[in-house]
Symmetry: C2
Subunit: 356 residues, 2 copies
C-alpha cells in the first residue's frame, strides 16, 4: 500500500525534475507513512525517504511508520532534514506553498541555501483524492458508525432538548461505536439558528415546529464521514417544508450529475439551477461539496470556481443548503463515490423529511 | 474589553511605524473581535478595523463581532481587504510570518503590490498572554468543569475498561457540564502505553497494577483548561511509584519557581534538576509547559530554549513527565497563574498518587 503511494510520488517528482520533495501537511504524511502524530515532516528523494518528528513520538513511530526511515529530532525538524538529504547546490526541491508558513519556509531556505525551491501542489493530493477499495471500505465504516449514531439521536430529539446536548450525544456515541473521534465539532442548529450554516451547537432548546440541521461525522483509522440531515420536530410550517423540498430537489439533481469526467463546477451548477427554479438560489451561500478522505476537505472541490474534473475513485460530499435569516435553514449532505457512469451514494439515511 | 485590546494593538503598530496590521490567526481574531468562525481575516489601521469572512457567517457576525466592521466576502478574503484599506504605495504593513502560508502571502502581495510587508510576531500574542480578571474567571470555569469530570471518571476507571471508553466519557461529560468542546482529544495511556507522551486513547484495556496517564481539558467561551493526572489501578510496582514520586517532586519544585520576572527556561531547568537528582532526566522528553488561554499552546513557553520572561497575569501549564519505554509513564500537569511573588495554582485536584 505505502509502497504504491510512494512510487507514485517518486514518478511525479521525476516528471517535474525534482531531486527531493518536502511534505509538511500532516494528513499527507499519514497517507505516505502511516504516522499519526501532531508534529512531523516528510522528505523523499530518488533513493530514500524520511519521517522526522520529536521525542514525544519515539515509541509511536515504531508501531506506525512504514516505508520511510523514522528520525527523532531535537530542535527544528527541517534542520535535521537538511543534514540528511545532502543535495547538491542548484538541486530542485519541491514543496507545497499552501502547507508551510512564511516563517517556516524562510528557515528551510536558511538550512539548505542555494537550492531551487519549486512551488507545487497536487503531487500528494492527486493520489489521496483517488480512493482504492480498502480506503472506500474504511470510509464506509466511518459512515456506518455515523448513521447508527444518527438513528440513536432521533430517539432523543424532542422539544426542550438543548442543541449542545444533542452534540454531546453524537460525539459520545461516535466514540463508543469505535470511531477515533468526531471528524469536526457536530453542528446542531435549530429554528432560526438554522440560518447559520456553521452554527456551533448552543444552549438553545429545540422547540416544536422547528427544523433542526445536524451536520456531523467521525474518523475511523484516519478516514472521515461527513453527513447532514435536517429533521423537523413537531409540524413545520408550509414555508419550511417548501425549503426542504427545494434543497432535496437540488441535492438529487446534483448527485445525478456526478460521474467521472464531469467538472466540479458543473455539478455545483446543477444544484444552483434547481435552487433558482425554486427562487431560493440567493439563500445558498457556500459551495456544493468537497472531497472526503484523510481530510474532511480535500480534492476535488464542487464549487462555482472549481476546475477539478471528477475521477473514478473520488469520494465527494454533495451538500446544498438554504439559509433564510430569521426563518431557518435546511441542508442535506451525502457522501458519494465517483464511478465511470455515475455516483454511488455511500450514505443510506433516508431523505424524506423526518417529522418527530 | 475589545476596545482596550484594540487600543493596545494600535499603540504597538504606531511604535513600529506600521500603517496597518493584518491578522490571520483565528484565536487572535477571536481575541480582538469576538468572532468564532473558521474562516476570517482581520485588518486594522489607525482609524478603522475590519473582520472579513465568508457568507456562511453572515448571521453569526451580527451576534459576535464587536469593535470591527464585519464584511462578508465572496472570493478571497484578502482581495476584499486590499480594496478596503487603500494604503499608499510604500506603506508599512505588519503581518505574522508564522500564521500565513507561502501561498497565501504571495496572494496578499499580489493584491497590494508595492507595499512594504514587515514580518513581526508578538503584537497580539503579548496582549493575549496577560489575562485580566475576567479571563482568569473563565479559565477557572473551564478548569472546574474538567476537575468535576475527572472525579466522575475515577469512578469508572477499573481493570478491563478500554482507554477509548475513558476518553469518550471525558468528552461526553465535558459537554454535558457546559463546555463548548474538548480542548484537544483526551490522552488516556495505560501501562507501557504510558511511555507514549502523546498516545491517543486506544482499544487497550486497563489492567490491574498499571499506571494510567490522563491528559485532558475543555473549552469554555474560547478559553481552555489543560490538566494531567496519572493514577494507579490496583497496586503499582515499586519502580512505578518511584517514577511518580520523582515527577511530583519535579512539578512541586517547578511550581515553586514560578513568579513574575523569572525566565521560562529557568522554571524548566528547576524541573530538570529535580529529575536529574532522581536519575530520570533522560526520560523527560518534552518541554515543561506553555501559556494557556484562547489557545492551548500560547505565550509564554517553559522550555530549555525559552527566552520568555513570566509576567503577572500569565497562565501557564507546569507538566513534567517521565516516559520509560517498556515500563510506563507518569505526567502531572497543573495550570498556574503568574503573580508578582509566586504562582497561584488554579487546579485543585489532589496530587498524591491515587490507587484505585
Amino acid at each position: 500500500m505505502t509502497k504504491q503511494r510512494i512510487d507514485a510520488v517518486r514518478r511525479a517528482c521525476a516528471s517535474r525534475r525534482l531531486q527531493a520533495l518536502v511534505v509538511a501537511h500532516l494528513p499527507q504524511i499519514r497517507y505516505l507513512t502511516g504516522f499519526t502524530g501532531s508534529n512531523a515532516l516528510y522528505c523523499i528523494t530518488k533513493n530514500a525517504s524520511w519521517l522526522l518528528t520529536d521525542g514525544r513520538y519515539a515509541e509511536q513511530v515504531k508501531d506506525e511508520v512504514r516505508g520511510a526511515r523514522a528520525v527523532i529530532v531535537k530542535g527544528r525538524l527541517f534542520d535535521a532534514c537538511a543534514q540528511l538529504i545532502r543535495l547538491p547546490r542548484n538541486a530542485r526541491i519541491g514543496y507545497d506553498p499552501a502547507s508551510v508558513s512564511v516563517a517556516g519556509f524562510s528557515q528551510w531556505k536558511e538550512a539548505l541555501p542555494g537550492r531551487r525551491w519549486i512551488a507545487l501542489d497536487g503531487i500528494v493530493e492527486a493520489g489521496m483524492a483517488v480512493k482504492d477499495e480498502l480506503e472506500v471500505a474504511v470510509l464506509r465504516e466511518a459512515i456506518a458508525i455515523s448513521e447508527k449514531v444518527f438513528r440513536e439521536i432521533l430517539r432523543i430529539l424532542r422539544p426542550g432538548v438543548r442543541e449542545s446536548d444533542v452534540a454531546a450525544e453524537i460525539t459520545y456515541r461516535h466514540r463508543l461505536l469505535g470511531a477515533e473521534a468526531d471528524a469536526f465539532e457536530p453542528i446542531v442548529a435549530s429554528g432560526v439558528r438554522g440560518a447559520l450554516p456553521h452554527g456551533r451547537a448552543s444552549d438553545k432548546k429545540i422547540r416544536s415546529g422547528e427544523l433542526v440541521t445536524i451536520d456531523f461525522g467521525c474518523r475511523v483509522r484516519g478516514y472521515h464521514s461527513d453527513i447532514t440531515r435536517t429533521v423537523a420536530v413537531g409540524r413545520p410550517s408550509y414555508r419550511l417544508r417548501a425549503m426542504y423540498d427545494a434543497v432535496l430537489d437540488a441535492q438529487t439533481v446534483a448527485i445525478d450529475a456526478v460521474r467521472a469526467g464531469v467538472r466540479g463546477s458543473d455539478v455545483d451548477a446543477a444544484a444552483r439551477r434547481a435552487l433558482r427554479s425554486h427562487s431560493l438560489l440567493r439563500y445558498f451561500r457556500h459551495s456544493l461539496g468537497h472531497g472526503l478522505g484523510l481530510e474532511v476537505h480535500e480534492w476535488p472541490r464542487l464549487s462555482p470556481l472549481s476546475k477539478d474534473d471528477l475521477q473514478t475513485g473520488n469520494v465527494v460530499t454533495v451538500e446544498p443548503g438554504v439559509y433564510v435569516p430569521g426563518v431557518g435553514g435546511v441542508r442535506i449532505e451525502d457522501d458519494v463515490l465517483v464511478r465511470p457512469n455515475g455516483g454511488l451514494v455511500l450514505t443510506s439515511l433516508p431523505k424524506k423529511l423526518i417529522c418527530l
